[in-house]
């Protein structure tokens, strides 16, 4: 199974569950003959199962993939070495005199590395957020497939004992989807040699993002119907955890939206007026060059 189950993978898993459930009904049902009839009745009873799996294909990551690719391009542009050329600018204007030259060096050139670092980290934050949204979708699909696999395993292991007791099989929610945002926040992106760090949630080391709380699911199941009921509960749990994980991601990002201020000098270059030809006294060549 690839890392992103498709809609047809999900439907096929649902159909596998139906087949296993029908087979379990026939295998464990009363020995009164007419297994075809039992099977047909069971098939009708379980026919909605594939759609329970297909619901996890409702969120489609393909457009997000395109957004993520372009966001990765943006981050790559910001990794270009020529951004370090500001140190050359610093050297080239180092000897110029006057208040405008001083302001240019102090307010424009000197803070640039810190501003760049914070902007780079914001880019990494947006990239991480898009990645998290995609991974939530992928993980929810993988969790649904895993729940289906556990249900099939449980159905295949159901046996009728002479006493009429059923072997108890437990189902549990797999829960990978519940920790996507926390996992991304736990592996922060670093870059740009942070000078004045703004604490973006997903890319700041030490930021804490909680995981979705999974409802207590599963338990024992003794008949095909109970296995399917437990499976449906587990699938509901995955769907609930998916929505909750999206909300956790949203909350973490809302905190960052609150941090953002376009006038923050650690994020935004100042407008520097260097003077016009009529006010050259504010931007003068070094004394030795003033003839």
């Amino acid at each position: 199974m690839n890392s992103r189950p498709s809609r047809s993978d999900l439907r096929a898993k649902g159909e596998e569950v139906v087949a296993a459930a029908v087979e379990a009904v026939i295998r464990t049902g009363p020995e009164i003959g007419g297994s075809d009839m039992w099977g047909e009745l069971a098939r009708m009873r379980f026919e909605s199962i594939p759609s329970h799996f297909e619901q996890f294909a409702a969120r489609d990551p393909e457009l997000l993939d395109i957004a993520l690719l372009n966001m990765e391009d943006a981050v790559l542009w910001l990794q270009q070495g020529r951004i370090g050329n500001m140190s050359e600018v610093q050297n080239l204007v180092a000897d110029w005199q006057g208040s405008a030259a001083l302001v240019f060096r102090k307010n424009f050139v000197a803070p640039f590395p810190g501003i760049y670092s914070n902007q780079y980290n914001l880019a990494a934050e947006v990239q991480g957020a898009l990645k998290a949204q995609v991974e939530i979708i992928e993980a929810s699909r993988r969790d649904a497939i895993a729940v289906g696999d556990r249900a099939i395993e449980a159905l295949n292991n159901l046996e009728r004992e002479s006493s009429g007791n059923w072997i108890a099989v437990a189902l549990s929610v797999i829960g990978a989807v519940a920790s996507v945002a926390a996992a991304i926040a736990a592996a922060p992106v670093t870059g740009g040699g942070s000078v004045v760090a703004v604490g973006w949630t997903l890319v700041s080391a030490g930021a804490s993002v909680t995981s979705a709380a999974l409802p207590s699911q599963g338990g024992s199941a003794g008949s095909p119907e109970e296995v399917i009921a437990a499976m449906n509960t587990a699938l509901s749990g995955v769907a609930q955890a998916t929505a909750e994980e999206e909300e956790i991601l949203a909350q973490a990002l809302r905190a960052d939206v609150g941090v953002f201020d376009p006038k923050d000098p650690s994020l935004s270059l100042p407008e520097v007026t260097l003077g016009s030809p009529g006010s050259l006294g504010r931007f003068q060549p070094p004394l030795e060059a003033q003839g």
């Binding site: 457009l63 372009n70 943006a74 542009w77 070495g81 080239l92 110029w96 957020a129 999206e246 060549p285």
Partner: protein, 171 residues
């Protein structure tokens, strides 16, 4: 008489304003364009449909297909727009600062014709020997939030996707 020290300083000012600052602006402008591409069908990207069941007149069940958007959409798009604005704004300010340095250099050169001549001569030499230092790079148009996304329809069976611009040179 040529003021050699002034000639050197004007060259340095020219390099800072015409070459280095625009060179820094290029990746910023490109990044603003790549971020702009992420706005292509962005609200659709975060949406999915769900079945919503309600009760009509306290009795009749009503099932509707409703479009639901991820709660993460709004803050992601807000942060994306903030980032795009910063990138476009930074590229613009880098170019403007470069132009201002050039204006200052030109103004000093106009005051001293011999120095200006020496500077022109030196610049001609650069253009022959070090073309990388001889002229400003093309800074692409920056894209502020809300700009049109240029699309490429040659991708997959004519389906449109945003035209990507990836860095190619190894730096």
């Amino acid at each position: 008489m040529t003021n050699e020290r002034l000639t050197v300083e004007l060259e340095k000012l020219w390099q800072a304003g015409a070459v280095y600052l625009p060179e820094i602006a290029v990746p910023y402008a490109k990044a603003s364009r790549s971020v702009n591409n992420t706005s292509w069908r962005d609200e659709e990207a975060f949406a999915h449909t769900e079945l919503q069941v309600s009760v009509v007149n306290d009795y009749w069940p009503k099932v509707e297909v409703v479009e639901v958007q991820s709660p993460a959409m709004e803050p992601i798009l807000q942060l994306r727009n903030a980032l795009q604005w910063l990138l476009a704004d930074t590229a613009t300010k880098l170019v403007t600062a470069g132009e201002a340095l050039l204006q200052i250099g030109e103004a000093y050169a106009e005051e001293d014709s011999q120095t200006a001549e020496a500077f022109e001569k030196q610049w001609a030499h650069y253009q022959e020997e070090q073309p990388s230092l001889a002229g400003p790079p093309d800074v692409p148009e920056v894209k502020y939030p809300g700009s049109t996304v240029e699309v490429d329809d040659s991708w997959f069976y004519g389906e449109e996707v945003p035209k990507r611009e990836q860095p190619t040179e190894p730096e």
